[in-house]
Symmetry: C7
Subunit: 93 residues, 7 copies
C-alpha cells in the first residue's frame, strides 16, 4: 500500500462481517451512528510519533469506526478509507 496519511489520520480497509455467527461481531443496522469493522493499513506520523497516541493503534489492528466518517479512495482496485484517529471508537482484540 502506498498511501501515507498525514497528521492524526489513519488509512483503513473495511472488513466483511458475517451476520449472526456466535463469535462474530454483529452491527445492528438500526444503530444510531452506524459503526463498522475495518483493518488498519497505515497510521499517520502524528500518531506514531506521539508518546500518548502511538500505543492506541497499529497496522493490522481490527477497529470499530463510525460508518459516515472519513474519505473513501480506491488504490489498485482496493477501496480504502482515510479517517481521523478520533473517529475510531475501539480496537477489537
Amino acid at each position: 500500500m502506498n498511501i501515507k496519511p498525514l497528521g492524526d489520520r489513519v488509512v483503513i480497509k473495511k472488513v466483511e462481517v458475517e451476520e449472526k455467527t456466535k463469535s462474530g461481531i454483529v452491527l445492528p443496522s438500526s444503530a444510531k451512528e452506524q459503526p463498522q469493522i475495518a483493518e488498519v493499513v497505515a497510521v499517520g506520523a502524528g500518531i506514531t510519533e506521539d508518546e500518548k497516541k502511538k500505543d492506541e493503534i497499529k497496522v493490522g489492528d481490527k477497529v470499530i469506526f463510525s460508518k459516515y466518517a472519513g474519505t473513501e479512495i480506491k488504490v489498485d482496485e482496493v477501496e480504502y478509507t482515510i479517517v481521523k484517529l478520533a473517529d475510531i471508537l475501539a480496537v477489537v482484540q
Copy 2:
C-alpha cells in the same frame, strides 16, 4: 469481552432496572435527557493512564449515562455501547 475502547471512551452494558422497587433507581420516562443505568465492561487507556481520571470509573461500576450518547455494537449476541467518559454522569454505589 474483546473490545478495547480508544482514548477517553468506555464500553458499557445496559442494566435492566425494575421500576418502583423501594431501593431501586427509577428513571422517569419523561426526563428531559433520558438517563440509563449500565455496567462498565472496559475503560480506555486515556482514562486508566490519566492521574485525574483513573479514579473516576473502573470495570464493574454501575453508571448513569445519557441514553442517546454513544454507539451501540453487538458482540457474541450481547449488546454494548461505546460512550465517552464525558457522557457518564455519575457512578451508583
Copy 3:
C-alpha cells in the same frame, strides 16, 4: 444517598419554596431563564479535589440553578438532578 457524580457535576435535590413569605426567596415564573432553589447532596471529585473550586460549594448548601439544566433521576422514591457546577448560579446563605 448512593450516587457519586463524576467530574464537575453536582447532585442536587429541589427545595419547595413558599411564595411571598417576607424572608423567603421568590422566583418569578416569568424569569427569562427560570431559576430554582435546591440543596446540594453530592459533589464530584472534579470539584472537591480542585483548589479553586472546592470552596465554592459543599454538601448541604442551598443553591440557585437554572431550571432547565441537568438530568433528573429518582432514587428510593426521591427525585434528584445532576447538574454541572457551571449551571449553579449562586449559594443562598
Copy 4:
C-alpha cells in the same frame, strides 16, 4: 443580602434612572443591545480572588450591563439579577 454568586458572577440590583435630567444617564429605548444601570450587591470569588479582575468591580459600584443578560431572582421582596462579569460593560463613576 444573602446570595453569594459563584465563579465570575455578580449580583446586581437595577437602578431607576430618570429620563432627560441634564446630568443623568439616559439609555435610548431603541439601543440595539438595550443597556441598563444597576448597583453591584455581591461579587463572586472568581473575581475577588483573581489578581486581574478584582480591581474591575466592587460592591456599591454603579454599572452598565446588557438588559437581556442574566437571571432574575427576588429576595425579601427585592429583585436582583445574577450576571457574569463579562456582561458588565462599564462602571459609572
Copy 5:
C-alpha cells in the same frame, strides 16, 4: 466623562464626517460591514495594563470601527458607544 469601560472595552464618540472633501475620509454607504469614524474617550484597564495592547489605542485617537458593533448610551445629552478593542479596525492618523 464618567464612564470606565471594563476589560478590553473602549468608549467612543462618533465623529461627523463630511462626504467628498478632498482630504476627508469618506465611507461608502454600500460597504459590506459599514465602518464609522469615532474618537476614543475612555480605554479599559484590560487594554491600558496590557503590555501588547496599551500602545494600540489611547484617548483622543480617531478610529474606524464596525457600525453595528457595541452598545450605545447617552450621558449628559451626549451619545457614546461602548465597543470591544477587537471591533476597532484602525486608527486614523
Copy 6:
C-alpha cells in the same frame, strides 16, 4: 496614507489585473471563494512586532486575498480594504 491598522490587520489596495496576458495572474470569475490581487499599504503592529508573522508580509507586497473579506474605506478618493492577516492567502512574487 494615514490609516494604522490594529492588531493582525492589514490595509490593502486592490490591483487591476488585465485578463489573459501571458505572465499575468488571471482569476476565474467562477472560483468558489473569489480571490483578488492587492498591494499591501499598511501592516498592523500585531504582525510587525511578532517574530513569526513579521516576515510573512510587508508594505509593497502583492497579495491574493478572499474577495469578500474585510471592510472597505475611502481615503482621499482612494479605496482601501482592511483585512485580517488570516484572510491573505499568498504573496505573489
Copy 7:
C-alpha cells in the same frame, strides 16, 4: 512558479488520473467528500519552519486533498489551488 503561500497553506496543482488502470488511483465519483490527487508546488513558511510539520509534506509530493477545499487561481495559464495543510489527507508514495 511565483506564489508564496502564507502560514500553513500549500499551493497544489491538480493531477489528471486515468480511471481503472491497474496501478492508478481511482477516485469514485460518489465519494462522500470527493478527494483528488494533486502535486505540491509551494509550501508555506508556517509548515517549513515548524519542527513537527516540515516532514509531513514537501514540493513535488503527490497528495490527496478534499475537492471542495481551497481557492483556485490561474497563473501563466496554469490552474493552481491554495489549500491549508489540514485539508490534505495523505501523501501518495
